[in-house]
Symmetry: D2
Subunit: 130 residues, 4 copies
């Protein structure tokens, strides 16, 4: 399963080169991951209240083609690795069929004390596995 | 030479966990790189007017310990690799002696057409080499 | 003429109350004004290169109903006042027929030295007048 | 009592004119207000857990002189009006003795249902009154 999230680039997200500023892509990717989690039935608020957190521990992002104002962007998200308490999403930011940016995002599930723990069964959805 | 840039975390930069939001670190790192370039005598405006651009092509960032509100942060920046038209900076975000975040940032020098080109001699400073 | 600009609220734009953070509305309004200017034939880059700037000198914004994640927002923009070198836009942020936020934004046209000057004739479009 | 909050402008906060972007000032002002509340003994988390919220209902901000990169900014905050469930702060953004921006910010205290209510006595500090 590949999840898709769409957005439209806004003028205030550009830098002096009229390209989307590097940091904004991380915001885009986060919005896509939250949408992914919701769509597979993980309500982050319930997860949080249950005493769990999903922390991002690593992001490797390659900038290939810059996004520009009013671009209609699609972000594809899918899992490429899964361990007991952690996993990796691959996220691809597309404009039509062009890959603009690609990122691998490593997450870990932790409890309220910040200790890595397995996802509780009710949140451990099959869509989190490659 | 290791360049140091300091900043203080502001309350609106936090996420729902009261940690600095992931994307903001990329802003911090960018501010530190621009400060680095200025301090070694590369005025980005002159560089830009001369027809050159520095584009970031890749960032690998590890989040180790979250930064929190009012934290006094130091970002250390130094080059770890240099090729003809590109290079890599390592940037370490510290709170006191704790390493909070570490990132390798790959840049490339391009001309106005976006083609990789060597840095012009007047901007090709020794501090850009490991 | 009332100009309309649409956007969809993204998850990272919320604050701890799950409402869009106050500052983000100013980004939304700016994106809508830039879209307005483009749609009436004012290319801001040409305007800038011609030596002109549009500066915002005052914003009064009322927050009535908070916008939330995934809301489909429409921003209506129209001029309510026009003087020789300045003017006021009224911008209304709507969700369906609900007015979430309303703002009056005062702008002034300045030259490169920051001195207020009349808009050059080719940019002084009738849509800038109430 | 006039509360003072200081910050240093960062390069990524500028727009194409090398001025701090309009929306960022609202972030600055918010950081200053949160600092103000903490300094007079209002812990927002305790306030929130107690079932109360402080919502901003109106901001009128005048942009007089633009802030630029590396500027050391001081934001002065003091109350200018107080009613039963609401109040107005005046916030002045200074660079040295120059007033760059001035804003009046209206707030209201609401309960979890969003209904305006008086501040509970333990949070109704004298510093909230002019």
């Amino acid at each position: 399963m590949i999840h898709r999230y769409t957005l439209k680039v806004r003028s205030y997200e550009l830098d002096g080169n009229n390209h989307v500023n590097n940091a904004n892509y991380l915001n885009y990717l986060e919005a896509a991951r939250i949408s992914f989690l919701e769509d597979i039935g993980i309500n982050y608020k319930a997860f949080f209240i249950g005493g769990y957190r999903l922390f991002v521990t690593k992001i490797c992002i390659s900038y290939k083609i810059p996004a520009e104002v009013n671009d209609e962007i699609t972000i594809e998200t899918h899992p490429i690795k899964r361990r007991k308490t952690s996993g990796i999403f691959r996220q691809t930011l597309m404009r039509g069929t062009d890959v603009l940016t690609e990122a691998d995002v490593t997450w870990v599930c932790v409890n309220e004390q910040g200790k890595p723990v397995p996802l509780p069964p009710e949140f451990d959805k099959p869509e989190l596995y490659p």
